[in-house]
């Protein structure tokens, strides 16, 4: 029983050098992409509640790509940046069921295009779409639906959990079973979820749970470990024997969030309050005064002694 998808692939936007045949090809491809009908993407309404605060200030977001169309052959996934036309990258030969790793990307608008695996970059993509990356937010850009009705969907991935809980959602990407119900323990995560649809995230108790997925004819059971502060996506997939469920870890943080700051200093090197030099300066002045007056007295007594002779 496997709970993991194929090994996550590295995919990072690279800046290509300017000039040369390749650059021309790319800009041609981009122009074509821009001309292509922009497909409706999944809801991108960025809710502040799902943003990671740590990346808000740095102007970065996260994107991962997924091939979740059961009867679509492996594809090449291209990504172009609107803000930086020379930046482009390709994830090659992505088979059904594969989900890439998150990549950190500058905020802005991007275009994603899908071509059959191995097709030249100059060819018209099977499908393309634009989507926006907002600061501190994470997205799963997935090819969904049947081969005949392939669509690109940009899912907004959650990056917060209520205190002490885990968040879970379900993507139904099994074509063999058109409707699937998914349960963990006594919780129902998805009830009769239709092919190519996605549930919202729901809070779940941390722990090790049995996951049961049931369609009309096939079922699947396996274990999933939910830790507090972690966010998961369960993907229902076709397998050779019927169904299987892949457990994706969307994000993780501290299960128990410490309160406030951290007391990691005892002050031994603190510059703030050096002991005041005033008493010492007063001592210096006082000593000077006493010594001077004593010296004068001594000189005077010498003078008196001289006169006395």
């Amino acid at each position: 029983m496997t709970l993991r998808l194929n090994a996550p692939r590295r995919w990072r936007l690279r800046r290509h050098g300017s000039g040369g045949k390749g650059a021309g090809r790319r800009s041609a491809g981009l122009a074509m992409l821009l001309g292509a009908a922009t497909l409706s993407l999944g809801t991108l309404a960025g809710t502040a509640a799902t943003a990671s605060a740590s990346s808000m200030s740095s102007g970065m977001g996260w994107v991962r790509c997924a091939h979740l169309s059961p009867n679509t052959a492996p594809v090449d996934i291209y990504m172009y940046s609107f803000g930086d036309p020379m930046a482009m990258d390709v994830l090659r030969h992505v088979p059904y069921g594969e989900v890439g790793m998150y990549m950190k990307m500058p905020t802005g608008q991007y275009s994603v295009a899908i071509r059959p695996a191995g097709a030249p970059a100059s060819t018209t993509p099977v499908i393309s779409a634009n989507f926006m990356v907002r600061a501190g937010q994470a997205y799963t850009v997935a090819a969904m639906g049947p081969a005949g009705g392939l669509r690109l969907q940009a899912l907004n991935d959650r990056l917060t959990t209520p205190h002490g809980t885990s968040m879970v959602r379900v993507i139904q990407a099994s074509l063999k079973e058109h409707h699937v119900t998914v349960r963990t323990g006594s919780e129902t995560l998805a009830s009769n979820l239709a092919f190519a649809s996605v549930t919202p995230y729901g809070a779940d108790k941390p722990g090790r749970w049995m996951v049961h997925a049931a369609g009309d004819s096939a079922t699947w059971s396996g274990k999933v470990k939910l830790t507090a502060g972690s966010i998961h996506t369960l993907v229902v997939l076709d397998s050779s024997s019927g169904l299987k469920v892949a457990d994706l870890l969307d994000a993780a943080g501290s299960g128990m969030m410490p309160h406030g700051g951290v007391a990691t200093g005892l002050g031994g090197t603190a510059p703030g309050r050096a002991p005041s030099p005033l008493p010492l300066l007063a001592g210096l002045a006082g000593g000077l005064l006493v010594a001077a007056s004593a010296a004068i007295r001594l000189r005077r007594s010498r003078a008196v002694a001289r006169h006395a002779r």
Binding site: A7, S52, M101, A251, G267, G268, T269, G286, R309
Partner: protein
């Protein structure tokens, strides 16, 4: 026959003596005044010594009092292997930051009864918060260390000197290293510590290093700010 003239010399002697009598004779004549003079000079000497100690107080500038200078860092020790962010990583056992000469084993930290992050019992050792993901796993991992002890610099004394691009090595129980690259260095007032940003979920493998900084409040014996270093795993 002229007598040898010892007499005038002898008679001149006392007069010269009277005009140029050595100080010790004056001292003998006026012991009290002399004692007061000595006392005054001693007071001045003590005051000057105190002022010298004050101005020579250790601690600043930061770079000079480093416990482990960069040059002493044995190079080539960290042997990072390219790794992907994973669901499970081995336990972290040691931390190395060549740019600021940090080289420490890692203790385990939990939460205090008040719910704040525990700190290492030794100021010269850093610790990993066991409630956070292990370094190299997906998520936001937390390592804390002291800026100083009551007397001297602590393990994270130079943390504020880190700059984006500096590398951080975490040795894991299997002897391999998780490698991180600094992306930002923040100073947050403890009164407004952004817990969600530091401890909250993230979708990639990140590491936050935490120590104290800013103004030291002598009334409460506390630094008023925290220094937080953000870093992302290098793949």
């Amino acid at each position: 026959m002229r007598a040898a003239p010892p007499a005038p010399a002898a008679s001149a002697e006392p007069g010269r003596h009277a005009r140029h009598s050595p100080p010790w004779r004056q001292v003998a004549r006026r012991p009290l005044t002399a004692a007061v003079l000595l006392g005054g000079v001693l007071t001045m000497a003590i005051a000057v010594a105190g002022l010298l100690v004050l101005t020579g107080r250790p601690g600043h500038p930061p770079g000079t009092a480093s416990a482990t200078p960069d040059g002493l860092m044995p190079l080539g020790t960290p042997a990072p292997l390219p790794k992907l962010a994973t669901r499970t990583a081995p336990l972290p056992v040691a931390l190395q930051i060549p740019a600021i000469g940090v080289r420490t084993r890692l203790t385990r930290l939990g939460l205090t009864r008040q719910g704040t992050l525990q700190v290492p019992s030794s100021p010269s050792v850093a610790g990993w918060y066991t409630g956070s993901p292990r370094p190299g796993e997906i998520g936001s991992s937390i390592i804390a260390g002291h800026i100083d002890s009551y007397r001297s610099p602590g393990v994270f004394y130079r943390l504020r000197e880190l700059r984006p691009g500096n590398q951080i090595y975490v040795r894991q129980a299997d002897g391999r290293y998780a490698v991180f690259r600094v992306t930002a260095v923040h100073q947050y007032p403890k009164a407004h510590f952004p817990a969600a940003a530091v401890y909250g979920p993230v979708p990639d493998a990140e590491l936050h290093l935490i120590t104290c900084g800013g103004t030291y409040d002598y009334a409460t014996h506390n630094y008023l700010s925290n220094i937080v270093v953000d870093s992302t795993e290098v793949r």
